[in-house]
Amino acid sequence: MSALEGRSGPRWMPYILSAPGLALFVAIVLVPLAMTILLSFHDWGQYKGIETVFILKNWREIWSDGYFHEVFLRTFRVAFAVTLLTAALGAPEAYILSRMKSPWKGIFLLVVIGPLLISVVARTLGWALLFGGSGGVVNKALLNLGVISSPIPFMFTETGMIVALVHVMMPFMVLSVWAALQRLDPQIENAALSLGASQVTVLRRIVLPQIMPGILSGAIIVFALAASAFATPSIIGGRRLKVASTLAYDEFLNTLNWPLGAAVAVLLLIALVLIIVGSNRIVERRYAEVFR
């Protein structure tokens, strides 16, 4: 008891000690967030600029204009496709990595994580060089080989956006599944084999359910990052194929309609929080036994 008291000190000590961190968090996260939310209720006009009133004009505009529906739908469609593809490619990739022998394991893990060290912009421009227009390396080669008659559209398409985002997001999925695989009992596959299960059954019935939490938490990370990604959609999507983040950017910096941009940004934030918290709940309930 006395040891506990000696360590705890005065009652206000914890608050004092955490005050600097708290102040920083309030200053750079909470205050700007509150200001953005407030901003989304202000009025804006071509000639009068921002008027500090409290109206629902921006929100009503987003609610009623089909253009905004289209952009938000595209944002979540792309994020969903990217999540599915990273899961479908990343989970087997992580499993194969975990089964590799010692030197190769480390080398290939580095190959998977390596892209994280390169700027997203550089990586996306790389994709543009490979696929962009009829001058892209891949399209040129396929055209010259006669495999395709016209270049595969890549730039300014959703397909291009998805492909580039999958590449950017892959490490997060692989690392997440990798962590789940590390907790797998190494004997468990042998146990299933000895009970007469085929290799495919072992993967489907034994390994997959146990790494499912890893896949799902990876999916949540990838979905959040893909839905709020900016660099890749703005380079591949260009000015016309917009997602929520590039739309907000345009409203702020090109149209200068800050209140509308703020409303778009806040809506994206709310939608993401709802989707992530919701799916996390479902995952935790469904896989309670595996998580513990």
Binding site: Q187, I188, N190, A191, L193, S194, G196, A197, P209, Q210
Partner: protein, 346 residues
């Protein structure tokens, strides 16, 4: 011909030979223990029988058929792993049912056999529990039930009790033995725990550095160890250097008849519980009590003699016992000691 035959089984990992020219026969219904220190090749042997490790050379036959030609999934062996390797996302009943499902057993029969086997291991009330909600002993029973329910031709146990605490381990030993007797499954146990091997098995194969040193029933291996390694690995033993004169082994004032044809310098091994304190003036090995430790049902002594330190275990039968620092004489029956020429490894 025995039920399971290992013939000239060898496994090399690069330069290292894990198992060397191992031959062994196991009768139907027998409980055999592979006993040895870690790295002696016992687990590799088990893994070769299970099919997870391919032998470098040699043959394994089960009921006259070549087992090596059969895939691990088709061998129909029941295996209990050291870590239990239960499927954490399935309940106890689902774990046990998995093997039957793989055989395509009909639902009603499957349910009946799962319930039966869970009852057999005393877990009838825990069918719907997930492994992480169970104690180590309960998980162990689920692992056993999962291996037994497929009615395996052989049950392989890989250090099954090593993750349990001492009291639970003893209880499980008794239970495991009873279950094996009731079901009658041929069983191979891999363990480094000599008391576990002796408590459970019909025969013990003591292994050292990839070879079998001795195969014998527990009592025989303990009383008449074939090699010095077996003597030192199975239970505690005293090794004393002695001389032989006129066909007699001489240790201090003690004289014991020596077996014929041994050298003049010998090593005598004798179990601690076979050594008695000489009463009266009978010729004996004189010593001084260095330490005396009370262990409930017995006393453990360390006695310094001219031939080295001797460990003595005496039953706590209530008689007066020597104190530390007291001089004592040690004696034992000649049939309780074994005599080997000096130079053999201890």
């Amino acid at each position: 011909m025995p039920f399971l035959v290992l013939n000239g089984l060898t496994k090399r990992f690069g330069e290292h030979t894990a198992v060397e020219n191992l031959s062994l026969g196991v009768e139907q219904g027998e409980f055999l223990a592979l006993l040895g220190p870690s790295g002696c090749g016992k687990t590799t042997t088990l893994q070769m029988i299970a099919g997870f490790v391919t032998p470098s050379s040699g043959a394994i036959t089960l009921a006259g058929k070549d087992l090596l030609a059969v895939k691990p999934a088709k061998r129909g062996l029941g295996i209990v792993f050291q870590s239990y390797a239960l499927f954490p996302h399935m309940t106890a009943a689902e774990n046990v049912a998995f093997g039957l499902e793989m055989q395509g057993i009909a639902r009603s029969e499957k349910a009946r056999r799962v319930a039966e086997t869970l009852d057999l291991v005393g877990l009838g009330a825990f069918a719907d529990r997930y492994p992480r909600r169970m104690s180590g002993g309960q998980q162990q029973r689920v692992a056993l039930a999962r291996a037994l329910v497929i009615q395996p031709s052989i049950l392989l146990l890989d250090e099954p009790l090593s993750n349990l605490d001492a009291k639970l381990r003893e209880e499980m030993q008794i239970e495991l033995r009873q279950i094996q007797r009731n079901v009658g499954t041929t069983t191979i146990l891999v363990t480094h725990d000599q008391s576990e091997a002796m408590a459970l098995s019909d025969r013990i194969a003591v292994m050292c550095q990839g070879r079998i040193e001795q195969i014998a029933p527990p009592h025989e291996a303990y009383e008449r160890p074939a090699t010095p390694f077996v003597a030192s690995f199975l239970g505690k033993t005293n090794v004393l250097e002695a001389t032989v004169e006129d066909g007699r082994v001489i240790l201090g004032d003690g004289r014991w008849p020596a077996p014929g044809g041994v050298a003049s310098r010998v090593r005598v091994t004798v179990r601690p519980e076979k050594v008695a304190f000489a009463n009266g003036g009978a010729p004996s090995l004189a010593g001084n009590v260095a330490t005396r430790i009370f262990q409930g049902n017995h006393w453990l002594y360390q006695i310094d003699t001219a031939h080295g330190r001797v460990t003595v275990i005496r039953q706590n039968s209530g008689e007066t016992v020597p104190r530390e620092g007291e001089s004592v004489g040690l004696t034992w029956r000649s049939e309780d000691m074994s005599v080997r020429p000096d130079g053999a490894s201890p």
